[in-house]
């Protein structure tokens, strides 16, 4: 099996159009909360979102395309023969909201082809939908294809935007915060949706060398599971997430004691965050080590969330810093000593990151400092 590396990445979030801008925004504790103007949301629970207001679509495109264009511009070129995996999950919402009367992409295959055309490479690849763990699962699937030698490089690309479709849906499920997103806080009361896009190029060592690509992080383990418990709610004991995390750590050759930080899904909903804290206790016992979530700052970016988390993890390893969990005021007891509203110095060599979604899906990745 070949080793898999992150060799290029780019993100667009409400904090900025690059990993550096997003990182600076996290560091400063920016929350970038905007009122929703594109549609009436005054009577919904969540009236605000983390938006990128200047992402305006070109003709026959939509805001998902506009955001994706931003991350592709930063990652071009990619090696010929790169497999593209699209992992945005609601790319049809804008089409539906336009009453299907305006020409724009509306099926996942359209986005996959659209990305291939923008990059000028063949339409090798496919799309993946694993709810809010989509780009995490896409990274695992892409890494597996590189590891067994099917491809030298795989591009994971995802974008999702704040739509009436999503805001109304999460609102009636009572999942949106009426106040502020506060992951792992005792008083948390829901999540906040955000615009976001990500592009991550994975490659084996030979492809990285051939195309003079820096190996930014080693993707050394991955795991995927299902709770087999409930469609919209996570299992209370975190058993499914434990399976995914243990599979990822096992592949990376890490024991729980070796694992040095955890980037949580941390949506700020009561049930998700409780489930994650239960899983952390089940895997790591009472060991205190850095745990963080970026959703208090950038919101929940749906299909793009896992990829954005992974990019932040790669950047954290390089910068030797753990970003603050923006919004946290009074941590849950199981979060105390782990999650912090302050940035933390970090000298570790690995971070595990995970995401969970509707349908009981869980996925975890281990990112490590590249051994030279």
């Amino acid at each position: 099996m070949r080793d898999v590396y992150v060799v290029k990445h780019s993100i667009a979030t409400s904090l900025g159009n690059s990993v550096e801008a997003t990182w600076q925004g996290l560091w400063k504790g920016h929350r970038a909360l905007d009122a929703i103007h594109r549609f009436h949301a005054d009577r919904l629970t969540g009236r605000k979102a983390r938006r990128i207001p200047d992402a305006l679509p070109a003709a026959r495109e939509n805001r998902v395309c506009a955001l994706t264009r931003r991350v592709l511009e930063q990652i071009t070129p990619v090696p010929p023969g790169t497999c593209i995996i699209w992992a945005g999950i609601k790319g049809n919402a804008e089409y539906i909201e336009a009453d299907q009367d305006i020409q724009m992409p509306y099926l996942p295959e359209h986005y996959h082809q659209w990305v291939a055309e923008r990059l000028g490479i063949g339409p090798l690849g496919f799309d993946i939908n694993a709810a809010c763990a989509s780009s995490t699962v896409a990274m695992a699937v892409g890494a597996q294809k590189i590891a067994r030698g099917e491809y030298g490089s795989v591009l994971i690309c995802a974008a999702d935007v704040v739509t009436r479709f999503a805001v109304a849906g999460f609102s009636v499920l009572k999942a949106l915060t009426p106040t502020a997103c506060r992951p792992f806080d005792k008083a948390r009361d829901g999540m906040c949706i955000g615009d976001g896009a990500v592009a991550i190029l994975l490659a084996d060592a030979a492809t990285a060398r051939k195309h003079k690509l820096d190996r930014l992080a080693h993707l050394s383990g991955w795991g995927i599971s299902n709770d087999a418990n409930h469609i919209t709610g996570p299992s209370r004991d975190g058993a499914g997430l434990v399976m995914a995390m243990e599979a990822a750590m096992g592949m990376a050759g890490l024991s729980p004691d070796d694992t040095q930080a955890f980037c949580a899904h941390g949506t700020g909903t009561i049930f998700n965050d409780s489930m994650e804290l239960a899983a952390i206790e089940a895997v790591f016992g009472d060991r205190r080590f850095p745990v963080f979530s970026i959703k208090g700052a950038v919101g929940h970016t749906l299909g793009a969330a896992g990829g954005i988390d992974a990019v932040i993890c790669a950047h954290a390893l390089a910068q030797k810093l753990i970003p603050p969990t923006v919004g946290l005021q009074t941590p849950e007891s199981k979060a105390a000593g782990r999650v912090s509203p302050q940035a933390q110095a970090f000298d570790g060599r690995n971070i595990i990151t995970s995401n969970s979604g509707f349908g009981g899906v869980n996925a975890a990745l281990v990112l490590q400092v590249v051994q030279i």
């Binding site: 509306y106 295959e109 939908n129 995927i224 087999a228 469609i231 509707f358």
Partner: protein, 231 residues
């Protein structure tokens, strides 16, 4: 890497069936026939009455495939994965949900419909009912390839040792509400799943093997759709 095909089931506009019945699926345009609940489930899934048509046919084909392998009943969870290819996914339900969300600023949007607005919900409902805790997600399904992408990823999961048994399949219910069909849509609707395993040699119906990026049947024939394995 050799993989055993240990069972399969399908639901089409013509009929439903299982591999070990000796039947061959007939792919036909039109709405798939949904088998009677008592014919495929020992007890129906908890939320069966809320299922949309995409979920109904997807779960039915998974139930038939599991019944075909004798693995449709279990006391505890099992690390079996489900990977499904789909082109339209739950588009019909997306449209139905949005119809409830567009009035009154969305305050009367249907939470039940929203819960079905992801294509993976159908296979997750099956995972819950049959206690399957392996990977569950959907992949795109270009025209004419019904299930091929899912099959490739399922074999990847088996070859990496992630799972010892995976259900790979295809689900498409289309949408009557969608104004614009995808290019090349031939109107065929239905669902089909086969059970693949690196174990259960005694249940093996046929073998497939992975060579580089290709899947080959035991005869050496290149596999390009799921149909190649059930006919």
């Amino acid at each position: 890497m050799n993989v055993n095909v240990i069972g399969g089931g399908w639901v089409t506009a013509f009929k439903w069936g299982r591999m070990t019945d000796g039947l061959k699926p007939v792919m036909a345009a039109g709405d798939p026939l949904v088998p009677p609940v008592e014919e495929i489930y020992s007890s129906p899934p908890v939320r069966y009455r809320r299922f949309d048509s995409y979920c109904q046919i997807g779960c039915a084909a998974i139930a038939l495939a599991l019944k075909d392998t004798g693995m449709d009943r279990a006391e505890s969870t099992r690390p079996i994965g489900i990977i499904a290819s789909t082109r339209y996914g739950c588009f019909e339900t997306d449209l139905a949900f949005y119809a409830t969300a567009r009035e009154e600023e969305g305050i009367y949007a249907s939470p039940n419909l929203f819960a079905f607005t992801l294509p993976g919900i159908a296979i997750s409902e099956a995972a819950i009912h049959f206690k399957l805790t392996g990977p569950t997600f959907t992949v795109g399904d270009p025209i004419g390839q019904r299930g091929y992408n899912a099959l490739c990823i399922a074999v990847d999961l088996l070859s990496s040792g992630t799972c010892r048994t995976v259900l790979a399949g295809w689900i498409d219910a289309g949408s009557r509400l969608l104004k614009q069909k995808a290019a090349g849509d031939d109107g065929v609707r239905g669902a089909m799943f086969i059970a693949l395993s690196t174990a259960h040699e005694e249940k093996t119906i046929r073998h497939i093997r992975q060579e580089n990026s290709e899947l080959l049947a035991g005869s050496g024939m290149k596999i390009t759709t799921l149909m190649d394995l059930v006919t």
